[in-house]
């Protein structure tokens, strides 16, 4: 039986709107806005992009951009206390939040069209008339300090290992420090620091207003006019970081009481979205280590065939908090990227074999990288990955909020029309051939040096094992076919040429305590 039901009075109209395919409505673009009108959508998505991020943190005040944004997002305004805001948002079942990356700060929220005006009032006030209350500041700062002193160090080793990789690779550049800052730098931040950061960077020319979904005519003009009340900016641009290619292997081992090792490694590339060979490397990376996909190569080699851990992935663009999401993050666009490999925690299977297994998995991933650089990809591998991404990329823009965020990210790189990311993926992939793909592999993945981070128990013993060059064979709970065992021989002896002076050991309690 098929029925179309009537709905309780009051919500009938909004709900029927959901059954209609949304119609993107082209409109005149207003300077300082990114719009994605979808007529018929019962939702309106906001994405207020402030062109500043952790790269703008003053020295000694690392974490300021993040703390300032979080205070705006989680604090009171001149119109309402924080608790009044919470009470007003509560019946709407929504709110606004913020993400702060190296270069971007984005306030995002989605609301049902029913509640658009009430929601927008709160969001506008949060950004344009913040109270900067002492009590709100102390609360948000205390929550941040707890994250820095404890949560970041003890709750997710795998995420920490990735942050440490970026910290190593971007030494001496504005990308060096983690977005949330160091323990000591955040401790020193005052409410006056926050106010002056806001005055300096939240300026009308640095704020792009993003609105998507089923908003009414004239709405965007109104929002833009509101934000034009901010003064003009005087802050100069931060030059893009030029990270040095490492000379050989640079290794950081973090000592922590644990039964499982976190592993990350990578190196700087010149790849940026929409730039030269980006789509060729997007294909290569998808074949090699597509995030959370079981058919990619690293996953197959380390997890599927050998059952060593939960997953193994690679990246050509920053992918913060990857453990929280299957879908790729938005609004973390950077002018410099790493090629990065994430080996999920490798557990000991019997007492004493943690380090052997850790090195085996690392060797396996490094060997796959070398094989890729030497052999390139076969025609059928290219074709298969083209087919996969052709369909899979439809998932990227699954919600209005995500489609809007991708449009903001296009604006970051100046990608327009056919070059816009979601529009360009299919045609750009279709153009690729083996020669182009193999060229891209050689030019972007052929680096001789790389940064490596391990978080593991008994760091000194691990360092000694690493330096010894000893083979690190593993055993299995079941029988493995001869071809796997033969490959294991090669993996367990794969060279990791590292010099003693290129290994640093650090205790977990020192991690991100202070800048240098």
């Amino acid at each position: 039986m098929t029925t179309r039901r009537r709905l309780p009075l009051g919500i009938a109209i909004l709900l029927t709107a959901l059954t209609v395919a949304y119609v993107p409505a082209p409109e005149e673009s207003i300077p300082g806005t990114v719009t994605l009108r979808e007529e018929g959508s019962p939702f309106v998505a906001f994405n207020i992009w402030v062109k500043a991020g952790s790269q703008n943190d003053p020295e000694g005040k690392e974490g300021l951009a993040s703390l300032a944004a979080n205070l705006l997002s989680d604090g009171g305004t001149q119109q309402h206390t924080y608790q009044e805001i919470v009470a007003k948002l509560y019946p709407m079942a929504t709110g606004y939040g913020v993400s702060v990356d190296k270069e971007m700060t984005n306030f995002r929220g989605t609301v049902h069209t029913d509640n658009l005006e009430g929601f927008y009032d709160l969001l506008r006030n949060a950004l344009l008339s913040p109270a900067f209350g002492e009590s709100d500041f102390e609360r948000v700062k205390a929550q941040t300090m707890n994250f820095l002193e404890r949560g970041r160090r003890y709750n997710r080793d795998e995420e920490l290992s990735k942050e440490l990789l970026y910290w190593m690779a971007y030494q001496g550049t504005p990308y060096e420090h983690p977005e949330e800052g160091y323990v000591e730098s955040v401790r020193s931040i005052t409410l006056d620091d926050v106010r002056s950061f806001y005055e300096r960077y939240y300026t009308r020319d640095a704020i792009v207003v993003g609105v998507g979904g089923g908003y009414p005519e004239g709405f965007v003009e109104r929002v833009r006019t509101d934000f034009d009340a901010r003064p003009e900016g005087t802050a100069s641009n931060v030059p893009a970081p030029q990270p040095a290619a490492p000379d050989g292997l640079k290794v950081l081992i973090v000592e922590k009481q644990t039964d499982a090792s976190a592993i990350s490694f990578g190196f700087p590339t010149s790849l940026v979205r929409g730039g030269d060979e980006f789509y060729a490397m997007k294909l290569v990376n998808s074949w090699m280590g597509e995030h959370r996909s079981s058919f990619s190569n690293l996953y197959q080699v380390i997890r599927e065939k050998r059952g060593m851990n939960y997953g193994n992935y690679s990246y050509i663009e920053a992918f913060p908090r990857g453990y929280t999401t299957q879908n790729r993050p938005v609004n973390a666009m950077r002018r410099s990227n790493l090629f990065e490999v994430w080996i999920r925690p490798i557990s000991l299977t019997e007492p004493g074999n943690l380090h052997t297994r850790t090195l085996f998995a690392t060797r396996a991933a490094m060997r796959e990288l070398l094989v890729l650089v030497e052999n390139g990809l076969a025609e059928d591998q290219i074709e298969r990955t083209q087919g996969f991404l052709h369909d899979f990329s439809l998932n990227y823009g699954s919600t209005g909020s995500r489609r809007l965020a991708f449009a903001i990210d296009d604006e970051f790189y100046g990608l327009e029309g056919d070059d816009a990311y979601l529009a360009a993926i299919r045609p750009e992939l279709a153009k690729l051939d083996k020669a182009g793909v193999d060229n891209a592999i050689r030019s972007h993945l052929g680096a001789q040096g790389m940064y490596m981070v391990f978080i593991t128990a008994d760091a000194e013993a691990f360092r000694d094992l690493l330096l010894s060059g000893e083979t690190t064979p593993i055993t299995y709970a079941g029988n493995q076919p001869p071809e796997i065992l033969a490959e294991d021989e090669e993996i367990s002896t794969f060279p990791i040429p590292v010099r003693p002076e290129d290994i640093t050991i650090m205790d977990i309690s020192e991690v991100f305590e202070t800048g240098r």
Partner: protein, 447 residues
């Protein structure tokens, strides 16, 4: 939300603290989409939902088996482990991953205490291949012992992803103090000792499949943009040969708790103290006013918009956070007040404040406006999750898990709309009773 604590296995499920109203065939239902329901002779139910999303669909199989059904000794974590094995292929399709790759599908699965949830999101043009592929693996799953042993290693790795977090340590401690018989005693990921011997359980895995992966225990949802007649014909063609044979597991009944319990656990890493006050609550029930009121009470009394949150988190800043996770489960389960205390010396005083707040809800009546706002939050919370086909399936899956069908959702929604301040007070009196209380603290170990 209470379920934050078991996030390692619950990748994407939506079981919010607030009630999730959904769908029924009745005229005044809240579910907005055109829907078709049918049941095969073997007991398999299917729901087809037209949810816009041009050119896309979500294909979801809900197996009403989870950690709850792990009743034998030594096999905790098995429902989740078995979820992994379902990706190991069949004789017809030995390479499941490769086939789904060719669709460009976003596909995965997750397991909780009450169910296992499998999904693919893909272009609608792949519907016929997806039905064929999914029907085949649910009936003809085939794997060798070697593959089984290898996959057990991946589960151990998954355990290690998050086992060391303070929240995970606390959750294990809470469960072991609350449950003495019922299988909610263990986390979905299982006890570490059981996870480590999983490679030895090949024979058990086959019996697990034989007993639980049966049509009477599975509900299909196809949500998105596709032709109903075609989808129904395909499902009938590919699933009708699936033989019934579900064996209901003997899930032990938890004896009634008769006095308050206290517990304390230390944590080897750095942490501020975590304090949790838990109460045994009834099973989810769409027509029981106490059960429905209980779910509303968690957010209302201890959520971000509550009086005690304002006092302890915002004004006095004695807590880093506070939350009330009162979502009910298929069987009687605990509801939880959870907070992180800023000063270790303040834990006892915070506990007294929270207990006093519990008592206040047993005597005072909730403000009518606050109750109305809570109902509004439930309604909009439901609507806001319906933006994608997978979101639709997730939003209604709880009803399927708890009852086997979608039909009771209208009853639930009607009950929710009629909840009064007196119902909330009665729920507090019945559910937040001292005799059903278990308090557990986690503090940093002395170094």
């Amino acid at each position: 939300m209470k379920r934050l604590l078991i996030a390692p296995v619950l990748a994407s499920v939506v079981l919010g603290a607030l009630a999730v109203p959904a769908f029924s065939q009745e005229e005044d239902g809240i579910f907005p989409f055109e829907t078709r329901t049918f049941e095969l002779d073997n007991g398999l139910k299917a729901y087809l939902v037209d949810a816009g999303a041009p050119g896309m669909l979500a294909y979801v199989s809900v197996v009403r088996t989870g950690a709850r059904d792990e009743v034998e000794e030594g096999v905790t974590g098995f429902a989740h482990f078995f979820e992994h094995m379902m990706f190991r292929g069949t004789e017809k399709y030995p390479n499941y991953d490769g086939v789904t790759e060719s669709f460009g599908a976003a596909r995965n699965a997750n397991t909780s205490q009450d169910r296992t949830f499998y999904y693919l999101v893909a272009g609608s043009e792949y519907l016929e291949q997806i039905v064929d592929l999914e029907a085949d693996r649910f009936q003809n799953l085939s794997y060798e012992e070697t593959e089984f042993r290898t996959e057990a290693g991946a589960v151990l790795g998954e355990y290690q992803n998050s086992a060391a977090s303070s929240f995970s340590v606390l959750d294990r401690a809470v469960r072991e103090r609350i449950f003495t018989a019922h299988t909610y005693r263990h986390q979905t990921i299982g006890f570490e000792a059981d996870v480590r011997v999983m490679p030895e359980q090949y024979d058990y895995s086959r019996s697990f499949f034989e007993r639980f992966y049966r049509p009477e225990n599975v509900v299909l949802m196809v949500v998105g943009d596709f032709d109903f007649d075609n989808a129904e014909a395909l499902i009938r063609e590919h699933y009708s040969g699936w033989e019934p044979g579900y064996e209901t597991p003997a899930v032990p009944t938890e004896p009634e708790q008769t006095e308050p319990r206290e517990g304390a656990v230390t944590y080897q890493g750095g942490t501020l103290p975590l304090l949790t006050i838990n109460y045994m609550a009834p099973a989810w029930n769409p027509t029981d006013r106490i059960a429905v009121a209980t779910e509303l009470l968690g957010g209302l009394a201890f959520g971000q918009n509550s009086d005690i949150y304002r006092k302890l988190v915002v004004e006095e800043r004695r807590l880093q956070f506070l939350q009330g996770g009162f979502a009910l489960s298929r069987d009687a389960d605990f509801v939880q007040i959870l907070c992180m205390v800023a000063e270790p010396d303040d834990v006892a005083a915070v506990k007294e404040e929270l207990l006093a707040e519990v008592e206040r809800f047993k005597t005072e009546l909730v403000d009518a406006q606050k109750l109305a706002d809570t109902k509004s939050a439930a309604r909009y919370g439901f609507l806001m999750r319906l933006e994608t086909p997978l979101g639709v399936a997730n939003s209604v899956s709880r009803v399927i898990v708890n009852t086997g069908t979608l039909d009771p959702i209208n009853d639930y929604y009607r009950t929710l709309e009629t909840i009064t301040p007196e119902d909330l007070r009665e729920a507090a009196r019945q559910v937040l009773a001292a005799n059903g209380r278990t308090t557990v603290t986690l503090t940093q170990a002395e170094s």
